[in-house]
Symmetry: C2
Amino acid sequence: MNNFVFRNPTKLIFGKGTIARLAEEIPAGCKLMVTFGGGSVKKNGVYDQVTAALKGRDYIEFWGIEPNPKIETLRKAVEQCRRWGVDYLLAVGGGSVLDGTKLIAAAVKYNGDAWDLVRNNALIGEILPFGDVMTLPATASEMNRNAVISSIETKEKFGMKVDYPRFSILDPQTTFSLPKYQRAAGMADTFIHVMEQYMTVAGESPLMDRWSEGILQTLVEIAPSVLENENDYDSMANYMLCATTGLNGFIAMGVTEDWSTHQIGHELTAINGLTHGHTLAIVFPGLLKVLRDQKMAKILQYGERVWGIHDGTPEERAARTIDATENFFRSLGLQTRLHEVGIGEDIILEIERRFNERGVAFGEGRNVNGTIARRILEAVK
Amino acid sequence: MNNFVFRNPTKLIFGKGTIARLAEEIPAGCKLMVTFGGGSVKKNGVYDQVTAALKGRDYIEFWGIEPNPKIETLRKAVEQCRRWGVDYLLAVGGGSVLDGTKLIAAAVKYNGDAWDLVRNNALIGEILPFGDVMTLPATASEMNRNAVISSIETKEKFGMKVDYPRFSILDPQTTFSLPKYQRAAGMADTFIHVMEQYMTVAGESPLMDRWSEGILQTLVEIAPSVLENENDYDSMANYMLCATTGLNGFIAMGVTEDWSTHQIGHELTAINGLTHGHTLAIVFPGLLKVLRDQKMAKILQYGERVWGIHDGTPEERAARTIDATENFFRSLGLQTRLHEVGIGEDIILEIERRFNERGVAFGEGRNVNGTIARRILEAVK
């Protein structure tokens, strides 16, 4: 097991009717900005619950943080925060609204352009406190320091580390109106978050292995109900809990991580606009094919414990395990080949070029460079 | 799934050589008391590492917090804290030293007798900040609010809620010198902590079920090595991580808990002095026998997933699962029957009397009263 430091101070408030407790969590007398996405919270009743909970409090609203939140939008929110003297932020929506809000929280006190902070997290100084009402299970942004921010101008998308929410309120009932595609992409996102922390070096921590497999097994078990029974409280509650625990540090203690599937997926979104979780469902089976030998021990363990694949040579079992993984994503209704989503060789070569230009290499072996990224994408053309 | 609130702010610093980082975690200029047990840390090098890390800092030492920490001892530490103006505490040792230190932290600013706080946690006001160097994996006190405090005078032992450590340093190398009996009792303690959060109502959270089973499976897998390879770093690291995660709230999200095995076990320790983890290894199989029908669905799931028991009638599978559980504790070298540890009918009747006198009943069904406690103990005479 590797040495590690774990700390996650977020207060997670989970369950039916919990939005009503919002005001208890936000200090009295603060100057609050509430951030939103495109308006779906006005249709599903979340906006009404939030405004009822904040009755009598001093706050302004900022609308329009889009999926894959754009620096161009967030700069406007930063300006408004400064103008109004905002000292606390509340994100209401999905992972994109919260990710964008994290960037705002870091940028308000920064004397420069907010994009600097995305490219160099070390420039982050004072961060405004923030909490959230999370309505879309996927990113686990509600219980981690991460944000992923995009630029329209440069067609780039990068992950960054900001800070943990002070509190996160998750009422599974707020997810009842989510479109099926978002449920599918969210489950794929959670599945791959787990894989980025699990599908690396075998034998580092039997407990972390069991916990990662536990999330994967649960996702496989609940996926049909999450897709089909859109108002089933327990299915959506289980899905939300999987999403949060998939990337809040609980399964990362003492183990080596990968994250190359995300790095490649971010490029697909930045260039083509494809939904994040969907990019991962395409890239990951390709990564397993290309890095099969390097990850063989873990592929076999995963195949046995999650898919019940026990018989055959290691190569046969690995092939069946990779097929089972791709078939799972297809069972969610997601295409798993690049040609199915209109991505061709030109984008593959552009991603290779970007990786090479930046001189980066990802994965537990630090070997996923431009060439390997191209091979991974060509394996799922 | 039940509604829940999760928050655990402890910073966990885990791995080889981490005691050297101690001074970074304790604010400069504070007046520190370092608390210890009976002196084993002077033999295994931990004391030397701690004093080296605290070189140049202002601190006093308090020695002699015993297993099942006694209020009579802790009152002396509280007096010394007041006399020296102590404003930060550091516990160095096992769960008992840390539990005792939590009580000290709560009692220093309380204008009354410290035992009041044990009997009525609502009286706790200001709590001194504290951290720890944990050297005995078992209680998870390093990452929870719990303390269990005993009284010599009244032969009583009660659990209480105080606060989370600011930080906990766990270097698995510090456990290399632990006697085999303490390893065995610690593993039994961890096993039952998990069971108190798992062996209740079926179907509340498939994820929490998998994570609890993951700790149980890991303990079963590593137990032979933990007992026999006393200097094996990975075995002890895995054991430490199981102990911490067994009772830090990670497996309790949205599920119903029990805790009657602990309540009965505390009485056995209070009256007879038997080591805590050992009491649980005796009581728990008895509890499964007496409450078999109430817990049947969960017993069958546990038997199948942890012990691979698939065939037979539910009653047969339950019986084999309970036997497998008792045999696991015996494989650790622990006796599992009361007559083997010199506990007879008189103590059983005294426990029944105490439960009845206090008017208490425990367990997910609130039905483990004095009568049921007696039946549980009689099932493992």
